[in-house]
């Protein structure tokens, strides 16, 4: 299984958390236009795997490659092409939703406020654009975070439990965004507990204790 030449490759990654052998030789290949659903019971290292893929967490053994180049060599350039959504929606409470987006996306590319409002509209929270993030509900905060993921226009999406705190309509929206992202040739690695019903090339990676 050679490493994927234009996608994401994870080869035999081992990670210890103190005494706990959290990731035991996990391997994964993701090609453009593919969605990987990382599933498994709690504490099996799903989130850890995602952090390793982002390049934040350096695995003790094993490598992560992007376009068959080890990410350590061009970390900044690689991270510019991904967007990561962790359990926290990563919003500053004192800033409005629009300001949060402007400062987050503005670091990656020039972006006009109108485009950000459009992204917020896409995820159904256009009306909260000028409200401080702390007054928003958890679901609304999730939607603003999804708007950020959308506005980043990154080719690799790494989403940790994107469906948490979302109502049925919210989950439907996220599935739709994922589907269109993957069908346009994007890559996505999603950690989720329940089954994903998304009509796109989808593979499951089961992590066990």
């Amino acid at each position: 299984m050679n490493s994927v030449d234009n996608g994401l490759g994870v080869e035999k990654v081992h990670v210890w958390r103190g005494d706990l052998h959290v990731l035991r030789g996990v391997s994964l290949q993701v090609t453009p236009g593919e969605l990987v659903h990382v599933a498994g019971p709690n504490g099996t290292g799903k989130s850890t795997l995602l952090r390793v893929i982002t390049g934040l967490l350096h695995p003790e053994q094993g490598t992560v490659t992007w376009c068959s180049r080890a990410i350590d060599r061009f970390r900044a350039e690689y991270q510019a092409q991904l967007t990561y959504l962790s359990h926290e929606p990563a919003l500053k409470g004192d800033l409005t939703a629009l300001e949060n987006l402007r400062f987050a996306v503005g670091l990656k590319r020039q972006v006009a406020p109108a485009e950000l409002r459009e992204a917020l509209g896409h995820t159904g929270v256009a009306h909260c654009a000028d409200l401080p993030a702390r007054v928003l509900s958890a679901g609304q905060r999730r939607r603003v975070a999804m708007a950020r993921v959308l506005a980043m226009r990154a080719s690799l999406w790494l989403l940790d439990e994107p469906f948490a705190n979302l109502d049925a309509q919210g989950s439907e929206l996220v599935s739709e965004l994922l589907r269109s992202h993957v069908l346009q040739g994007g890559l996505a690695v999603i950690v989720a507990h329940h089954e994903l019903r998304i009509e796109c090339p989808l593979r499951r990676l089961e992590l066990h204790a």
């Binding site: 934040l56 900044a76 510019a80 359990h87 500053k92 800033l95 987050a104 503005g106």
Partner: protein
């Protein structure tokens, strides 16, 4: 389309300043602490004004150090708690640049404010106004150096719970040289001797710290973000 380093620097500066001014009371707290600490010394020492003059540079500088340290703990903590620190690290822009912008914005809001308040305190400590200029210049350089040293400490302790004491324990030994040169510069300015020697040393220390510290802070953040 992509964003140049200058824009990133200005964007992060604007973000930090906007965040700070959204909660102005948090900016006042270190300044009030500075005033309180400097009033403690004369009360505790209850000595005549002339003796107070000899003590005043040291008192002013120790108070400035402690109040700057107070505000440093929050430099990265609020971003780490709500997950934005990760997003900054993953922005694809050099973390060194982002850290430099954050620390400079933090210094503007705390160190520079302290320098502006210093004359008020100097009058209370019976420091003659002829020394104000040197005092403010040395305080500006001193607080900037301390902001960088404190940023290293904050970067190392951001993941820990009660890290305020540990931060001071780490940073204060490193800050002793700037206390020595800063207080000496002010002391000489008071007794009308040329403070050039001490100011040059302080400036050298400031430049040295400002050039090396950003890389240390970035390394510290990489460690805690793992």
């Amino acid at each position: 389309m992509s964003v140049g380093p200058v824009e990133v620097f200005l964007l992060v500066m604007r973000r930090e300043l906007r965040l700070s001014f959204r909660r102005p009371e948090q900016l006042l707290q270190p300044l009030v602490f500075f005033l309180i600490v400097t009033t403690l010394f004369p009360l505790g020492l209850n000595l005549q004004l002339s003796l107070l003059r000899d003590m005043s540079p040291g008192v002013l500088w120790v108070a400035a150090l402690l109040s700057s340290l107070l505000s440093l703990d929050a430099l990265f903590k609020s971003d780490a708690d709500d997950g934005t620190l990760e997003q900054l690290a993953l922005s694809g822009q050099g973390l060194v640049l982002i850290v430099t912008a954050k620390t400079c914005a933090h210094w503007l809001v705390t160190g520079a404010a302290l320098v502006l308040v210093a004359p008020l305190v100097a009058i209370a400590l019976n420091i003659p106004s002829v020394a104000f200029a040197t005092m403010m210049v040395s305080l500006a350089m001193g607080t900037l150096t301390l902001s960088w040293l404190g940023a290293i400490g904050a970067g190392l302790t951001v993941g820990l719970r009660r890290s305020n004491v540990l931060l001071s324990l780490i940073v204060l030994p490193l800050a002793m040289p700037l206390l020595i040169f800063g207080a000496a510069a002010t002391d000489r300015a008071i007794s009308q001797i040329s403070p050039a020697g001490a100011l040059y040393f302080l400036a050298a220390l400031c430049v040295f710290t400002c050039t090396l510290a950003p890389f240390a802070v970035t390394a510290a953040l990489r460690i805690t973000l793992e």
